[in-house]
């Protein structure tokens, strides 16, 4: 580029000149580029527009992109030396290989984890199935067994109770019958009881029922229907007890407590 300025004082203004020279150079370059651009702009505005539809878009765009890429490539090759490209290519290849290997490793990890997960899920499923089976068994098993046990117990106890009562009744009938009507007292002033006598079995029944019906007051009044010797028998053998304050009341001894 030729310098337009006149050099008035070469020695002192050399640096300033260089700077202004460089500036002028740059400005000139910029202006030239701008002019080129305007020229290109004009050419571009002459090119017609073209819109795309879905059907022709892909093909025409691919062709266009290929053309433009080749144009850009040739432009690049003209402008920059090969070395810049190579360095860039080497760097990119390095990056590519690291990323690819990372990708591979991640895929392997993912597969492994997936397998692990599947196995765990299988284990979980089979454990769940087992658990459900066992739960059912336990529940049904224990319920029915307890129920059956209780039933049989109840039954056995009821039977035993019946047996005892029957045996008691038979025993009492055999050994402690009601007296005949012909036992008469010689002394006339003793009043004979005209009430119907009840059996010892019945007396005992009354005593037992009273003891379980009214536990806090198990006493009954001695009635005329009780044959006195039997009362004496019960009292003397500790089967019945008198009321501590009232001699006319007796109760059954609490053998079950």
């Amino acid at each position: 580029m030729s310098v337009n300025q006149q050099d008035l004082d070469p020695d002192s203004t050399t640096d300033m000149e260089d700077i202004t020279d460089a500036e002028e150079k740059l400005i000139k370059e910029c202006e030239e580029l701008w002019k080129d651009m305007e020229g290109c702009q004009k050419k571009l505005s002459l090119v017609g527009t073209e819109t795309l539809t879905d059907s022709n878009a892909q093909l025409s765009l691919l062709i266009m992109q290929a053309k433009c890429l080749t144009a850009e490539l040739s432009q690049w090759q003209k402008e920059s030396p090969e070395s810049k490209f190579q360095k860039l290519r080497v760097d990119l290849e390095l990056v590519l290989s690291t990323v690819q290997s990372k990708n591979e490793k991640l895929k392997e990890d993912l597969e492994r984890e997936q397998q692990w997960l599947d196995e765990q899920q299988q284990i979980l499923e089979s454990l769940n199935v087992l658990h459900n089976k066992l739960k059912q068994q336990v529940v049904t098993f224990s319920e029915s067994r307890v129920f059956d046990e209780l039933n049989t117990k109840m039954h056995d106890i009821k039977e035993y109770k019946e047996k005892l009562l029957i045996t008691l009744g038979e025993f009492l009938e055999d050994h402690f019958p009601l007296p005949d009507g012909n036992v008469k007292k010689k002394k006339k002033n003793v009043k004979e009881s005209t009430a119907q006598l009840i059996t010892l079995h019945e007396i005992l029944e009354i005593l037992i029922n009273r003891l379980f019906d009214v536990p806090h007051d198990p006493y009954i009044k001695i009635r005329d229907s009780f044959w006195p010797p039997y009362i004496e028998l019960l009292l003397r053998n500790g089967i019945a007890l008198r009321h501590p304050e009232d001699p006319t009341q007796i109760r059954l001894e609490a053998f079950h407590q």
Partner: protein
């Protein structure tokens, strides 16, 4: 001028302009705000439009990048974008167009399938981003990406052209078997 052309005007000094086309006005506004917050050496200009063609009486700068925003919850938004695509010149699709699909996170509300948008992006050989614009974090991330893309499309990044970027973005996607 009913058809948008990429190089119809001289560029502004250190200016990069993006046009966001979509029916979701509020979210586009929020995205624009997020983009303006990004650090950028160039001056950013963001235009919002519901659909193309743009009114021709307005004096606007040269548009460097068009992003079509599709809401996967609304069929109308897809229709709108498809119609707007007819008003874009073919040369725009050399890296200066992108698609942004939002709402993919809520599958139950999606009336458009992901594949529909993917096919659309494949047909126009343009990159497709998925983003839930309602979440601030995701919005900021996509705003960052868009700002970088815009800088390249405006030519502010030396050594990388819009078409280069497009090749880089597209090479990671394998063409679907039905496209071949």
């Amino acid at each position: 001028m009913s058809v948008l052309r990429p190089l119809d005007k001289q560029p502004g000094l250190n200016t990069a302009t993006i046009l966001l086309v979509g029916t979701e006005d509020a979210l586009l506004q929020q995205l624009a705000d997020a983009m303006l917050k990004e650090d950028c050496a160039s001056e950013l200009k963001i235009h919002l439009a519901r659909s193309l063609p743009l009114p021709s009486d307005v004096n606007r700068p040269r548009i460097d990048l068009i992003m079509f925003v599709v809401n996967l919850h609304s069929k109308y938004s897809l229709q709108n974008v498809e119609e707007s695509l007819r008003h874009v010149d073919a040369t725009f699709f050399l890296g200066k167009v992108g698609f942004l699909a939002m709402g993919a996170g809520q599958e139950s509300h999606c009336s458009i399938h992901r594949n529909t948008v993917t096919k659309l992006a494949n047909t126009y050989r343009s990159p497709l981003f998925f983003c839930d614009l309602e979440r601030e974090g995701f919005r900021a991330t996509v705003a960052q990406r868009l700002v970088r893309m815009l800088q390249i499309c405006a030519g502010h990044v030396p050594g990388v052209s819009a078409l280069n970027l497009l090749s880089l973005l597209r090479s990671s996607e394998n063409p679907a078997p039905e496209d071949l």
